[in-house]
Symmetry: D2
Subunit: 241 residues, 4 copies
């Protein structure tokens, strides 16, 4: 069982009636339920939970893969916790920033870019095309996922070139977007996945959960050697001609 922590800012759901109706217990709870059904060992954490945003060292030590949803309050996440999350990813923890988490502090820190994009809220249709059907994150996914109503995110998405690009979105209003992007940073694996606006029941779509489920499996750390970053002796003779 993969130990998953779903982190959520959890503000929209408490401030906006429409969102509360969709996700009465919060987006984190909806995701946790869906992922527990898929057999994962899931806990949740939220921004206002305690002075560590629910991400104590103990919680992170027991986390294989961390999901991150945030939007209104990226700046309220303390730099100390961001440092901690970034460090954990580099040490191997999987990291799945979802939707508006493109602008979260940990993702921006791990990417080294602005992670900016263009956007529009018009409830338009999105089609996520499976660009790499052979990738494990695309397992069980059809050639496209149709999201009936979505916020648009459009290119230029200011990210480093992904190590693998799994999904590309089409939007009714005329834009495209690299919606499923894999990275390795340090020993950790990162998958940015675009869908998930708070005003539409996107995390109730079976295929969306399947992608997240696949991404959790893909991002689960494997037991690699801890890198040796030190001054070392030579194993081979130096100075022979």
């Amino acid at each position: 069982m993969v130990r998953v922590t779903v982190w959520n800012e959890y503000r929209h759901e408490r401030e906006d009636d429409n969102v509360a109706e969709l996700y009465p217990e919060g987006i984190h709870a909806a995701l946790a339920d869906a992922l527990e059904e898929r057999g994962h060992d899931v806990r949740t954490a939220t921004l206002d939970e305690d002075d560590e945003h629910g991400l104590s060292r103990d919680v992170l030590d027991e986390t294989d893969v961390l999901l991150w949803w945030g939007h209104l309050a990226h700046d309220e996440v303390s730099d100390e916790i961001v440092d901690r999350v970034v460090e954990e990813v580099r040490d191997g923890m999987g990291f799945l920033p979802l939707h508006s988490a493109h602008y979260s502090k940990p993702f921006k820190r791990l990417m080294g870019t602005s992670c900016s994009l263009k956007w529009r809220e018009a409830g338009e249709r999105e089609r996520l095309w499976t660009v790499e059907p052979g990738h494990p994150i695309a397992e069980g996914i059809d050639e496209q996922i149709v999201v009936p109503e979505a916020e648009m995110y459009g290119e230029r998405f200011d990210i480093p070139q992904p190590d693998a690009l799994v999904f590309v979105s089409w939007f009714e209003g005329g834009e495209v977007f690299r919606s499923g992007c894999c990275y390795r940073r340090g020993s950790g694996r990162i998958f940015y996945f675009r869908p998930g606006h708070e005003e539409y029941p996107i995390y109730e779509q079976e295929e969306i959960i399947t992608v997240i489920d696949n991404a959790i499996e893909w991002a689960t750390p494997t037991d690699g050697v801890e890198p040796n970053f030190s001054n070392v002796e030579a194993a081979e003779p130096i100075g022979e001609e």
Copy 2:
């Protein structure tokens, strides 16, 4: 001055009145004219020109970058000439397969994949989004190029992951496509560029020519060392402990 050879199958233009009207001297001639205006040293070659399809060793020796347009008669290109082109690319010649040349023998040979895709001829609008505005092939290009009427090519496009992905297309009918893809194979650089259906005046669009012009500059060979593929002596002592 970059020495460019524009290769064209040159069948549609001679067999179909609509195409002949658009490209009376052939697509190769239209491209050659446009690229000469941009300051390149351009020659053309066509499938039925001679028993080497206009691609004698002398012609290829004097070619820095080869453009390739083909559609109806990929199979009529002799394997000997394909071997020759592939060899030249590996030795450093730039190669720009255009549009339906995704299915040309040299491109398929250099990619190692089927290069298949889905398609539709409905004269629909295409928007090529500039995914990498900092790439030299995007120099002078706006955030999108709108092609008013295009044949659709849709993902899954069965290619190896590009070394760089510069353009992604949006189509009116609902599909997306990786439309500008960079590769290095051997010492040669390859840029696949999607636009260019024979029934629309796409090669008369200024931005399309700009992209091709940029790609020619990018693909022009630089003077790298010829790899040494042989049995070699050791430069360092072997057998010391």
Copy 3:
């Protein structure tokens, strides 16, 4: 259980006493034994086994991951079987070319390059450094694997840029080599792994088998959609302004 087929040319072992002593039943048998111990469902196939080199359609249909060892007789592998193997890889079968299989027909076909390199047989020390400790193929592997005696392969290795580079070799005589290279081609995953000269007991090294074991897990096909390569109807309206 992953269904593994180990293909071996099986000539050195029958023609050269030194090799026969190391691998009396052939390299394929040694690999099969080691991989069965790791829990895989392994069968073997060899060049001279039957007129299909042991790679009938039935065998390939029941193969998740194909290992390939060849050296002296690459040219004797029939093009029909090569076509079949390449097709299977594109359809999702994992493919692990080992050592001198860099020059095998299926690998060259899937890469689109010459796959040439420089070499030396001097029984020198090789150190495979783990460049990506977080990659699943490096699971359980230390920061380096030392092969006491190896044939040298040196750069320039004429391959496409790997999708991921997991190991880089150091050689006593002064060369380096990209020794563990991941690719996706079609829906299949490919891992080229350098170690394995026939004159040294390299496939008896535990770490070497661990890498191959990991690569088998990594290359096992996942159940992705079969791409739709056809003329399609538009899902969205065309012709609106």
Copy 4:
């Protein structure tokens, strides 16, 4: 003429007699001289020059490509100037961190990783192998560059997977290193180049200057569109079925 700024920490040269003997005017002056001879328009800047480390907005506005050498005093570079440099790179300025600048603040910020490595100071021989002879940064470079005496840097080098890997180093003492790594971040191009320890006359080696010269050409910004990161109107109709 490319406008190059060579930034140097300039401490070793003022604090250590051996270094002062090699680079009496500083590493920046030696590089500036060599690059001026190659036809570039070069200025220099140093850490202690003024309260902006010589990197005022005006200087950066007039810089196409910034070289960076630092070692002892990475932490003394003010975060404000680091922000400024990172911003300029994202806006297109080329950036060439040299040698120990792997640990400079701007490089670490742009990579998002620790950029750690292992090392040894033993004056050992280094061989930089040209892994991509067809890359423009390898123009005019032989299959290897031999540095007679070098500080060793060894893998695991904790960087994101490079967009292109041009050189890999071999070290006498048994290690390897990815010594020439290309990245795009925002609209800017970055080339990390390893050689350059302050105690050896490495920047007097002609081939080393050739690589830097090539990298400057490669990293010079091209005139791409400034990305539009805003809330946008739809260009296509929304809400049709």
